[in-house]
């Protein structure tokens, strides 16, 4: 068990704290003032000033993040009707204490950064500027943004990954609907604002599932990178496109692959097309391995209820030194590589390598300012040089209730890519809409064009959306 959980262990959360108040059960009855006050008192008594170590995935971000490389991602829900602002503010107020592990600020320790609890109000702001902008020093590192019929949440990756953030957004939406006097089905599974956070939600799941003395995964060679010129600051621009889920699903099914495998293959084909159009000199200069980083939600592989980061990557690839790939060959390669790499034992090996590095006696006892320099230069030199692109597929959202009729679609915007990667892609489905968002820091939209052309060649219509 983690040593940092020693603090949290002392909190002794009691999930039965509201047993005496059955009338306040959510949904169905309003949260009464007395219940909220009691809950607040209990939370304050139990963890007035807790702190947490950064989880394994978060440790790199404080050292490398900047105004451009913000490590902030966004999840948006576009409703069919305009947001009613007073119920939304009420909903935010109601969920204030449900996610104490998010109400933290990164602080510098002597050896590592850590997260210190600050019971400040969640920031709700108009959504009028660039998405995924950096958090300023002293701010909580997540925010809620509102515009017209769109409610968004932005989280720093220091706090959590897409799955954790989505649970927060889900709770916010359901509480909002509740505040709008819309009845919430009783069987709906979500983190109710009335529940006391579980101890497992705080945990660093990487450390929990760490196994000592596993062999190291093999190193991978560097890969192809897009040759485009960077935008002037601010660089980050987003293109959002909608494709019918049934059409993608049909194409994927025809090839016996998942939607993620299908989209990764399309991405690889687009990169191959871009490579083929390069001049002879550029081709000679470029690397011939095309590798895509695909984040995997480890909660589906390892039992965990953590609300912090718990994902790793698989990296399907094609190697153009072996010749040109057709879509069928790419689909087959990606499918088998992903099947292989998502194996629990292989995931254990990667967790073991990552956590071992942070537990290295020399590294962990190095003062933070030196450690930050090492992490910064390691990231600069090796960081994303092994990948040509990133596709994050958060899957398909389904509330399985009447609430689905109130929502038009969801959008996931991944964090701004770095100067090596240049473009990344987020995918999120709802109903029959699969929303792709390309975050791009270059002055070229060639990759997006190639990607959409490849889809249209397969008779999958693409609609660019005004986000």
């Amino acid at each position: 068990m983690l040593s940092n959980l020693s603090i949290i262990n002392n909190l002794s959360f009691e999930s039965s704290c509201l047993v005496d108040h059955p009338e306040a059960c959510f949904p169905g009855a309003p949260l009464t003032k007395s219940v909220l006050e009691e809950k607040q008192t209990m939370l304050n008594r139990q963890h007035p000033d807790f702190w947490m170590r950064l989880d394994n995935a978060a440790k790199i971000y404080p050292a490398v993040q900047s105004e451009e490389l913000t490590a902030v991602f966004r999840l948006s829900c576009i409703l069919k009707d305009r947001i009613k602002i007073m119920p939304l503010l009420k909903a935010v107020q109601l969920i204030e204490d449900r996610f104490p592990y998010y109400k933290v600020k990164p602080k510098r320790g002597f050896f590592w950064y850590y997260l210190e609890h600050h019971n400040e109000k969640i920031s709700v702001v108009p959504d009028v500027t660039t998405p995924c902008r950096a958090f300023q020093k002293g701010e909580l590192i997540f925010r809620v943004l509102v515009k017209a019929n769109r409610v968004s949440v932005e989280f720093s990756h220091i706090l959590t990954d897409g799955s954790g953030a989505f649970e927060f957004l889900k709770t916010l939406l359901i509480t909002y609907f509740h505040c709008c006097n819309i009845s919430i089905p009783e069987k709906l599974s979500f983190l109710s604002p009335q529940d006391i956070p579980l101890q497992e939600e705080f945990e660093d799941a990487y450390s929990s599932h760490f196994q000592r003395n596993l062999p190291l995964p093999k190193n991978t060679p560097k890969s192809f990178h897009l040759p485009f010129t960077l935008n002037p600051v601010p660089r980050f621009k987003v293109v959002v496109a909608m494709i019918p889920l049934d059409a993608v699903s049909k194409s994927a099914r025809q090839n016996d692959v998942s939607i993620t495998v299908f989209l990764v293959s399309i991405y690889l084909m687009s990169l191959q097309n871009i490579y083929n159009r390069l001049s002879k000199f550029q081709k000679r200069k470029s690397r011939k391995i095309f590798r895509i980083q695909v984040p995997i939600n480890l909660r589906k592989i390892f039992p965990s209820k953590t609300m912090r980061n718990f994902s790793l990557f698989v990296t399907p690839e094609i190697d153009l030194r072996l010749g040109q790939y057709t879509l069928e060959e790419t689909l087959k390669t990606v499918h088998h590589l992903m099947q292989l790499e998502t194996d629990k034992k292989l995931m254990n090996k990667i967790i073991s390598r990552n956590v071992s590095a942070e537990r290295n006696l020399l590294l962990k006892n190095t003062p933070l300012f030196i450690k930050s320099l090492i992490l910064y230069f390691t990231y600069k030199v090796a960081g994303t040089s092994r990948y040509s692109g990133v596709i994050t597929n958060l899957g398909k959202v389904n509330f399985n209730s009447g609430l689905d009729t109130l929502i038009d679609h969801f959008v996931f915007i991944p964090p701004p890519p770095n100067k090596t990667l240049k473009v990344n892609c987020g995918v999120l489905g709802f109903g029959n809409k699969l929303i792709l968002s390309f975050g791009n820091i270059t002055n070229s939209k060639e990759l997006e064009r190639e990607f959409f052309s490849e889809l249209m060649k397969l008779n999958i219509p693409v609609k660019i959306m005004n986000y």
């Binding site: 009613k84 602002i85 007073m86 602080k107 108009p126 002293g138 515009k147 017209a148 962990k364």
Partner: protein, 236 residues
């Protein structure tokens, strides 16, 4: 249905302003491009404006007082000695203070840059006085190095203050530490001027007294800070 023209959200009946952006619901299209009203966005701007006004008033009062001091000492010295003698000291000090006050009040830039500009002007003033009043060389060999060290120490202190998140006893600790260093530099510079060698004596005693106090203050600061334990600072 009431809509906010900035955020596009639906507002409850009876709301005059959007609780998100602060814009009045009665704003017409013509005023949409106008700056947002006093709200969560421009509170800082308003506060900065008030601060600037306060700085200007303080500068005007300070300038009147310092100029009066310069003129008074100049007249008295010239009247009594028929030439400029001792008044060169208060005149130099007042002119340096005047230049810093002017820079801090009138130039709207970062504090460190203001200090650098103030130091350049003051150094220029001292060099100018050196040639005008033909002093014994203390301006060049003593005043200018002390001025440089004072600026440098102040800037280091500002950097330290800004780099710490929680300000408490650590502010006093840093200040005492900088005073100790400053005393060593000051005594060294004076000894260089008077004896032509770097010699420190009393400043070592000052430093020896201040360093344990500094360490104690830092220790207390980290002990009483929020959760009263040092593990979070020093965890590995």
């Amino acid at each position: 249905m009431l809509l906010c023209k900035t955020c596009g959200v639906e507002l409850d009946e009876g709301l005059d302003h959007c609780p998100l952006c602060g814009r009045s619901v009665h704003d017409d299209k013509k005023t949409l491009n106008a700056p947002l009203p006093a709200s969560i966005f421009n509170k800082k701007t308003t506060a900065a404006g008030e601060l600037y006004l306060l700085q200007r008033i303080t500068w005007q009062v300070t300038a009147v007082l310092l100029l009066s001091g310069i003129i008074a000492t100049l007249i008295i010295d010239a009247w009594v000695h028929k030439r400029i003698t001792w008044s060169v000291f208060p005149i130099s000090v007042c002119t340096i203070l005047l230049s810093y006050a002017a820079v801090l009040a009138l130039i709207r830039t970062g504090l460190v840059l203001q200090l650098i500009i103030g130091w350049i002007i003051s150094t220029g003033v001292l060099i100018g006085f050196h040639y005008i009043f033909q002093d014994t060389g203390w301006m060049l060999r003593l005043a200018i190095p002390i001025l440089f060290i004072t600026n440098l120490m102040t800037m280091v202190l500002i950097f330290l203050m800004r780099s710490v998140g929680t300000k408490g006893l650590n502010v006093f600790a840093f200040s005492l530490f900088m005073i100790a260093i400053y005393c060593i530099c000051l005594e060294g510079l004076i000894s260089l001027y008077t004896r032509n060698q770097f010699f420190i004596q009393w400043s070592i005693i000052v430093t020896a007294c201040l360093l344990p106090v500094t360490a104690s203050l830092l220790f207390i600061h980290f002990r009483i800070k929020r959760n009263k334990h040092l593990e979070k600072i020093f965890h590995t």
